[in-house]
């Protein structure tokens, strides 16, 4: 878009420029969120061998708009004994930080709301503020279910920030910078996924947990504490959490994953002269497609697994993801300090990270290993009654 500003010869005030870019991000985010809700319903429907939304609009494409309109016209219910200001502000405290993470993401080369030198650090730090929103909602609702859900979610969200940080930290060590543009630019020959597969897995799991999606959705356990901290919310306030925050967060983190691990707009041929003036279009498509794959993977995982109990969830974070995350950072440090040659460094990183991934998988297998299927099921089939 700097292209367009240049064409029109407009020389903008810095604040106006930021404001306009922000508007573009808002519009794209809203449309994307609606599209993602529709996509999830159709995709999960496909997994469950049913059709998904079909009637509102051609093949149900207008379903999200219909839902948004319905939620806007709903009665605004607030418990009489709820703490007024905390109750009203909690959804916004949850949503705004997620939106602010979108400010540091470069969607194309050179297009971002602001190019922050500490971009990665900013994203991770800001997304941690959402915990306060969950706690506010749970406390202010004056409801035991909400309180239980809020306490659980506070524990979960704070714990899973650490693997999130470690995942992106490992990559930023490889790139040598916290600036997202630099990290993406460095992946012109190899995406970081090949250099660092273990942090990618850790990041995927941590994103699922940060967004409270299945299998980590014990705070908003649908079939037990229906809604968790958000059980007293209705109408548009409810949709700010469950629709906007969750899907905007999903989209934002997927773009982060695509930029940092899958090569972003650089890999495979992002900045080659082949595309001429339209390289920005190719880069945009590339980034969105990559994030699309991450989103689909997360939706697939969400639709398949039962949820983990809170103690199992915490054990998984602190006993599995955390040690391996730290190990990865340590190994990265060693390799990066002592490997002089580029190729040697790349190969070493790939080997060490791959080895750590295998070890982590084996550790999970050992921890959750159950007696083999034959032992479990076989004892049942062989039993006949005494006669």
């Amino acid at each position: 878009m700097t292209l367009l500003w240049g064409i029109f010869g407009i020389d903008m005030n810095v604040w106006l420029d930021a404001f306009l870019r922000l508007q573009i991000v808002v519009i794209v985010m809203t449309v994307t969120v609606m599209g993602l809700i529709y996509l999830e319903r159709k995709f999960v429907g496909r997994i469950q061998m049913r059709l998904g939304p079909m009637r509102t609009g051609p093949f149900g494409t207008l379903q999200s708009i219909a839902d948004a309109l319905k939620l806007l016209t709903k009665e605004d219910v607030r418990p009489a004994t709820a703490d007024f200001w905390l109750f009203e502000l909690a959804p916004y405290v949850t949503f705004v930080p997620v939106f602010m993470t979108l400010l540091a993401l470069p969607f194309m080369e050179g297009w971002f709301v602001r190019d922050l030198q500490l971009g990665l650090f900013y994203i991770v730090a800001i997304s941690g503020v959402t915990v306060i929103g969950y706690l506010m909602a749970g406390w202010a609702s004056d409801n035991k279910y909400a309180l239980l859900g809020a306490v659980r979610s506070a524990a979960q969200l704070i714990s899973y920030e650490i693997p999130l940080i470690l995942g992106v930290l490992a990559v930023s060590m490889v790139a040598g910078s916290l600036n997202l543009n630099d990290i993406t630019r460095q992946q012109d020959t190899i995406p970081n996924l090949l250099l660092q597969p273990l942090p990618f897995m850790i990041l995927l799991i941590a994103i699922l947990a940060e967004l409270s999606r299945r299998p980590f959705d014990i705070p908003i356990g649908e079939s037990e504490l229906v809604g968790g901290p958000w059980v007293e919310y209705s109408g548009i306030r409810w949709s700010i959490i469950f629709a906007l925050t969750e899907y905007a967060g999903l989209w934002g983190f997927s773009i982060l994953g695509a930029l940092v691990f899958l090569g972003g707009w650089q890999f495979p041929f992002g900045t080659s002269s082949f595309w001429g003036d339209f390289d920005f279009l190719y880069q945009l498509v590339l980034v969105f497609t990559k994030s699309f794959f991450i989103i689909l993977t997360m939706m697939w995982i969400s639709a398949t697994f039962p949820r983990l109990r809170i103690d199992q969830l915490m054990a998984f974070c602190w006993k599995v993801l955390l040690p391996f995350g730290f190990l990865q950072v340590l190994v990265n440090g060693i390799v990066l300090t002592y490997a002089d040659d580029e190729t040697v460094r790349d190969v070493l990183l790939f080997l060490t990270s791959g080895a750590l991934l295998v070890v982590m998988t084996y550790a999970i297998y050992l921890a959750t290993r159950q007696p083999s299927r034959e032992e479990r099921v076989g004892s049942m089939i062989a039993a006949r009654s005494a006669q």
Partner: protein, 379 residues
């Protein structure tokens, strides 16, 4: 208690136990059921179930009906295993009226339909159990796809998808359609595919195993003390199945296994019910082969049935346990007393024993694994 070694709770602070009401309207309670759980942190210390929301006086109403009209109430009491309840009822009436011995074809049709109903009831359990654990809808939808096949078959035979009123004392009300054998064979194949889908989805899944193994353990002695029957009892390791121990109807002509569990936890109950689907398919296939032609009601059916005076207790192996009918007749057209022994009621009485010491999330899992039918608990 299972989690005592993992929890070191420091009781320096004065804490009060929290009372959580998993209320009558809840997505996870399988019906209108209320549980008040006392919770210390996340660990359950006491469970008080409140039932009675679905009491409609079925036993009393049956006293005002004659024997054919009262069949409808059996369906509505056990709304997931209707044919088994109806079977128990008609067998009880036939005990008091020996002139109404059902012909062979009717016996085989009854057994086929009862076992197919067992399959559909266990599919309902598989679907609802996955949902209680948090699988978003995938297990539920897979289970219901299989149930739809079965319900379509039942609609072709009896006319109704859920409330059949098909069995009569003396046989069945009307004959099955001409394509019965091929339809039932197709339904059995689909049921096996569905069971293997659920198997691959859940049985080996580490998250599922971590959520259900070691949860809600009920030892064999406790199970017998509480009067628990059916798959819950078998999962605790007790070899008890009324179809083998006291063969009623014509169950002694079929060759099938009964799956027995070892630990008595939720995982074993799930496995027992999954395996029972396969065993029921075996029974249905054998019965289909042996299905004879012939009449479906005895030659001389009285217009109004008057069984001889007396009392009888008949019990059958319902998908949930032992469903019993205690019938007192004074020789008139209406039963003097019709008492239904509900398996879910007795299985539910073990809930407190199984839940204390576990987490709140497990309470929902355990309740799901008891597989109760609220209309049967409350009649």
């Amino acid at each position: 208690m299972p989690h005592e070694d993992q929890l070191q709770v420091e009781h320096e602070l004065e804490t009060i136990d929290l009372n959580i009401n998993i209320g009558p309207q809840h997505p996870a309670t399988h019906g209108v059921f209320r549980m008040v759980i006392e919770v210390d942190g996340e660990v359950v210390t006491d469970v008080v179930p409140h039932i009675g929301y679905m009491h409609r006086g079925g036993e009393k109403l049956s006293e005002n009906m004659d024997y054919r009209q009262a069949i409808g109430y059996q369906d509505r009491t056990e709304y997931l295993s209707q044919f088994n309840a109806e079977l128990c009822y008609v067998l009880a009436v036939e005990k008091l009226a020996p002139a109404l011995a059902p012909p062979e074809r009717a016996q085989y049709i009854r057994i086929i339909l009862a076992e197919l109903n067992r399959i559909s009831s266990h599919f309902m359990f598989l679907g609802a159990f996955g949902t209680d654990l948090g699988v978003f809808g995938t297990s539920f939808v897979y289970a219901f796809r299989e149930r739809e096949n079965l319900l379509d078959l039942f609609e072709e035979v009896t006319g109704d998808r859920l409330m059949y009123a098909y069995f009569r004392p003396g046989g069945v009300a009307w004959d099955v359609p001409a394509n019965f054998k091929s339809r039932v064979e197709w339904v059995c194949e689909q049921a096996l595919i569905g069971a293997s889908d659920m198997d691959r989805l859940l049985t080996d899944n580490e998250i599922f195993i971590a959520r259900t193994r070691g949860i809600g353990i009920l030892s064999a002695e406790d199970a017998i003390d509480y009067g628990v029957t059916g798959p819950m009892l078998r999962a605790s390791g007790v070899r008890q199945d009324l179809r083998k121990d006291e063969p009623y109807a014509i169950y002694d002509r079929f060759d099938f296994d009964i799956p027995i569990g070892t630990n008595g936890d939720c995982y074993d109950r799930y496995l027992v019910r999954l395996q029972e689907i396969r065993e029921s398919v075996k029974i249905v296939r054998q019965a289909l082969e042996q299905l004879p032609d012939g009449p479906i009601l005895p030659e001389r059916m009285p217009r109004l049935l008057r069984p001889s005076a007396g009392e009888v207790y008949m019990r059958c192996e319902d998908p949930r346990g032992e469903y019993g009918i205690y019938l007192i007749s004074k020789g008139t057209t209406q039963p003097y007393r019709l008492r239904m022994r509900s398996p879910s009621f007795c299985n539910l009485s073990a809930l407190r024993q199984m839940t204390i010491g576990h987490y709140v999330a497990d309470a929902v899992t355990i309740l799901g694994s008891t597989d109760i039918v609220l209309c049967s608990v409350d009649r």
